[in-house]
């Protein structure tokens, strides 16, 4: 169900620095300690809240796995290094059962992402830019980043539209 191929393909792509850490598989998600950055609701099988949502703080996100993407973006200057959690890994963690994701931002900007889209394989939810966490003003705390430089496939309006910053929640729809 989940795209595992993307991870293998990523090794051949320029400008992508992949750092793999093994995610701790958990049926039941640990509870967050710090400020909640991301809320995942909808068709998921692992939650850590009564209403069936999976909430994450910074450390929980880090626990899932870390990936670095080195790329330029149309909103930043020069090559920047984004550190974050791979979207696939997150979806695995929450046991997402749906394919359609609705990502919502602070300012109520929402975008639909098709999780099975091969492009999605390389998406990360970044929480660090250049080694430092991103403030809201910097489009943080979470920003879905794609390795734009690696392929023209990532340089489309659709992908830019999916590069939602100030991300607060993801709704998984079947």
């Amino acid at each position: 169900m989940m795209i595992l191929l993307g991870r293998t393909a990523a090794a051949a792509i320029l400008g992508v620095n992949v750092v793999m850490t093994h995610a701790a598989s958990a049926d039941h998600l640990p509870e967050p300690q710090g400020k909640i950055l991301l809320t995942v609701i909808g068709a998921i099988s692992h939650a850590n809240r009564q209403d069936g949502a999976a909430v994450f703080d910074r450390s929980l996100l880090e626990d899932i796995g870390t990936e670095r993407v080195q790329t330029t973006t149309i909103w930043t200057q020069g090559i920047q290094t984004f550190t974050g959690v791979p979207l696939d890994a997150l979806l695995d963690t929450v046991g997402a059962e749906g394919d359609t994701l609705r990502a919502v931002a602070l300012n109520d900007y929402a975008i639909e992402i098709s999780a099975s889209d091969p492009v999605q394989g390389e998406a990360i939810i970044a929480y660090e830019l250049g080694g430092a966490p991103m403030s809201v003003r910097d489009k943080g705390p979470l920003w879905i980043i794609y390795p734009y430089d690696s392929s023209p496939d990532y340089q489309t309006e659709q992908i830019y539209a999916r590069s939602i910053w100030q991300l607060v929640s993801i709704e998984v729809h079947p």
Partner: protein, 855 residues
């Protein structure tokens, strides 16, 4: 393919290449665009710009709502501020928005927003109390921000709309351009396709033409009557037509692929053929190839060798050398040629036999005829009475007619069979004419006619002609003239009509003042056996063949003869001949009676440039009996002097070119034949100094012109004793001249004989002599080709004996010469000698006659 077509095609090809290039470039551009479009370096700009306003409004709302003293309100405000802030930064930093800062309206608005945010940040980030305190101001600021934000949004919309439109426009243009060029390319390709189709069509047409031509050629080869065989450089037969099958016997299947040598060339020629082929291939040397028609032997399949005529050509193709030969079996032709040759040889043999027969017959017929006539002569002289004489005369007349008939028929037959070949020799026409007139003089006297010979000066002195044949013709003509003219005049003339290098066209005419020939008869007279009636008592001794023979002879000489009215009323026969001018100096021929070895008292070289003078002087010299050789100028004199030894040289002084003095000097110098020959100068005026100079140059005597006969004789007499031993016989002097006749008879001898024998027997002896002399004369005047000389020589011998006894020294000497000549050569003596002897015979006989009459 014409040059224009070529240029057209080249231009078209260039155009095509250009169009393709252009299309390629455009498509590259398209590809670039596609690439560009594949990615975008901007997200939804319109959205972001309008979202700025939304975020601003939200911020404004948050500020208003933050008047409620709630912690969450402050957070919410901060959040909204941050969102607005980040939105604004995006606009500032993002690539896509780089256009914006350049716009002046935007600049102002942007500055205001920047200022607001800068001011706001410390407050937002600061403690809450401070924030609360600043809220009213904040609110005011926010309100003021409305304009710039809106302005930016609107401006942004405009700009990006422009950009978008321009991009679209560019793309549209690109697409249009590409379409056009592609369209053009398609047209070009269509034309190219059309051209190719057309070329294909033309090629097909050409191929069809070629095929037609090939078929025609194949047809020609197949239907050719000659064998056509094509071999390659290894000698293997490649093409072999049906005619070859017929000629060589090998079928096409048998021949193709086989070496030609084995099939068609006789074994014995194999080596030569191979060698020749090898040589040609190596050196290109052609002996049989490309040399036209050659006849060789070829071999039939059956092994039979037969002759062929062939022609080989050679061509160098891509595949190597090929040899094309055309062959024709010429067996039949050879055979026909051989048959022809055989037939011809047989015909020639037949003709030869015929002429031999003629020769034999002539002798057989003429001998008894001569016997009859000779006896008749004797009979006439044997004292007949009148009746007998009449009968004898009748017999003679008939006999002469018969002899003439026989001679004419034989002449004619000889001319017909070509047995009478012309033997041209250098002849002096003047002398020939003289001789003819002389021989006709009796007939002319009888008819009371006067005969004149006129030769114009421009007639070359020496011409190459057969003197006997020409004489025959002229004798006939002059004889006819005498027959048909009485008491009239006959003119034998010669003129030079035309003269080119070495050839002169001469017209000889015999004009009489006789009865003439009617116009309608003019052609007929030349026909055989035609004799025209005349009102005069004609001499019935013609056969009617004379003119026919004359015409044949003239035609054999390549000339023409015709008859026309003369102005004087009679007939004029005119002969035109083209004769070569003989370059050799004339040895006085049959016409003149002088000869270089023989009875000339003096052989004289006469050098005289003037024709008339020459003629006159020659006549004078010859009258004295001397042998004359002419030279027309000093140059000729010198060369003749070098060639022949003379007893005397008469040198005209005033000559153009090398004059007489110079010539004399040249002859004297050196050790030529005539270095010591006496020379006499002839000149019109001679001063004493000149005479002296002549003498100094070797000319001992001088004769002044005009030369008197006595003076000439005197000078000649001076040199006559210096004759020398080379001449035979003749203790007599001149044999011709008014006083000469007497010298033919030695009266002392005669007297002795007369005394010894007595009157009667003496007379009889004289009469016998007369007969013999007459007969011999006749023989001597006969055509020597018609009989063998033995009998004549025997007769001469007999006559010589009589002459010796009786005392006719001149005759005796000549007759001995005649004998000697025959003993030496076994043939008839020379014409000149015979003529001379004949003349002396006659003269002597005449004198004896006179003598007899006297007694």
């Amino acid at each position: 393919m014409s040059a224009e077509t070529n240029y057209g095609l080249v231009a078209f090809a260039a155009g095509t290449v250009l169009t393709i290039g252009l299309t390629a470039l455009l498509w590259l551009d398209v590809m670039r665009r596609i690439d560009e479009l594949a990615v975008t370096r901007s997200d939804n700009t319109q959205w972001t710009i309008s979202q700025l306003e939304v975020d601003y409004l939200r911020l404004a709302l948050a500020v208003r709502d933050s008047s409620v003293a709630e912690a969450s309100a402050a957070d919410h405000l901060r959040e909204r501020f941050d969102i607005f802030y980040s939105r604004w930064r995006t606009l500032g930093r993002a690539e896509a928005y780089r256009l914006l800062p350049e716009d002046p309206d935007y600049q102002n608005a942007a500055q205001e927003i920047d200022r607001f945010l800068d001011q706001g940040v410390p407050l937002i980030d600061g403690p809450e109390a401070a924030l609360r305190a600043a809220l009213p101001a904040f609110r005011a600021e926010i309100a003021r921000l409305h304009e710039p934000v809106r302005a930016i949004a609107l401006r942004g919309v405009d700009i990006f709309a422009e950009v978008s439109d321009r991009q679209r426009g560019e793309i549209v243009t690109l697409i249009l351009r590409t379409s056009l060029v592609t369209g053009l390319l398609l047209i070009v390709l269509a034309i190219a396709a059309f051209l190719m189709i057309d070329a294909g069509r033309r090629a097909r047409l050409a191929a069809r033409q070629l095929e037609k031509v090939n078929r025609s050629l194949a047809m020609i080869v197949d239907t050719s009557l000659d064998a056509i065989v094509v071999a390659d450089e290894t000698g293997v037969v490649r093409v072999y037509n049906p005619a070859a099958e017929t000629i060589f016997g090998w079928s096409r299947d048998e021949a193709i692929g086989q070496p030609m040598t084995r099939l068609m060339i006789p074994g014995r020629h194999h080596a030569a053929h191979e060698a020749g082929m090898k040589r040609f291939l190596e050196t290109g040397e052609k002996t049989v190839i490309d040399t036209g028609r050659v006849q060789l032997d070829a071999r039939h399949k059956s092994g039979r060798i037969f002759p062929v005529e062939l022609s080989i050509t050679h061509e160098h193709t891509d595949e190597g050398h090929i040899f094309v030969s055309f062959l024709r079996d010429i067996t039949h032709r050879r055979r026909a040629e051989d048959d022809l040759k055989t037939a011809r040889d047989e015909a020639l043999a037949g003709a030869r036999k015929k002429s031999e027969f003629l020769a034999v017959m002539s002798h057989e017929i003429r001998t008894p005829l001569n016997g009859i006539l000779g006896s008749l002569d004797l009979l006439e002289d044997s004292g007949l009475d009148a009746e007998q004489m009449r009968l004898a005369t009748t017999m003679r007349a008939s006999g002469d007619i018969l002899l003439n008939h026989v001679n004419d028929v034989l002449s004619l037959t000889r001319l017909e069979t070509g047995a009478a070949a012309l033997t041209p020799e250098p002849v002096d026409l003047r002398g020939l004419f003289d001789q003819i007139l002389e021989s006709q003089s009796a007939g002319a006297d009888r008819a009371g006619n006067r005969m004149v010979a006129v030769i114009s000066d421009d007639v070359p002195r020496v011409l190459s002609v057969d003197p006997r044949r020409l004489s025959q013709v002229l004798l006939n003509l002059v004889g006819n003239a005498n027959k048909f003219t009485s008491d009239g005049e006959i003119v034998l003339s010669a003129q030079c009509i035309d003269r080119t290098d070495g050839t002169a066209r001469i017209a000889i005419s015999v004009a009489d003042t006789g009865v003439g020939i009617a116009a309608e008869e003019r052609e007929r007279v030349f026909e055989d056996f035609v004799m025209l009636d005349s009102s005069y008592d004609r001499n019935a001794d013609g056969t009617g063949l004379g003119l026919g023979i004359a015409r044949r002879i003239v035609q054999a000489m390549g000339g023409t003869i015709d008859v026309r009215d003369s102005e004087t009323g009679g007939a004029t026969f005119r002969i035109e001949l083209a004769l070569e001018i003989a370059s050799a100096p004339v040895q006085p021929s049959a016409g003149t009676d002088v000869v270089s070895d023989g009875a000339c008292p003096l052989s004289i070289l006469m050098v005289e440039d003037n024709d008339i003078n020459r003629h006159v002087l020659r006549a004078m010299l010859e009258r004295e009996g001397h042998c004359v050789v002419e030279a027309v100028d000093g140059h000729a004199a010198v060369s003749m002097a070098a060639r022949q030894r003379f007893d005397l040289i008469l040198m005209d002084i005033s000559m153009p070119g090398v004059n007489g003095v110079e010539a004399a000097r040249l002859v004297r110098e050196g050790d030529g034949l005539n270095a010591r020959t006496p020379m006499v100068a002839t000149t019109a005026h001679a001063l004493p100094e000149e005479i002296e100079s002549f003498r100094k140059n070797g000319m001992a005597r001088t004769l002044t012109k005009p030369i008197a006969r006595d003076a000439l004789r005197a000078v000649l007499a001076e040199y006559a004793p210096q004759r020398g031993q080379k001449r035979q016989v003749k203790d007599g002097k001149d044999d011709h001249g008014p006083d000469a006749k007497r010298d033919l008879l030695d009266f002392e001898s005669l007297a002795i004989v007369s005394e010894t024998l007595g009157q009667d027997r003496f007379q009889k002896l004289l009469e016998q002599f007369i007969r013999l002399a007459t007969a011999l004369e006749a023989r001597l005047r006969d055509d020597p080709t018609l009989f063998e000389p033995e009998t004549m020589i025997a007769d001469a011998h007999q006559l010589a004996g009589a002459a010796g006894t009786l005392g006719f020294p001149v005759l005796h000497g000549l007759l001995e010469e005649l004998e000697t000549s025959f003993k030496r050569t076994g043939k008839h003596p020379e014409e000149t000698l015979r003529a001379q002897v004949a003349r002396i015979c006659r003269n002597t006989r005449d004198e004896v006659n006179d003598l007899l009459e006297e007694t």
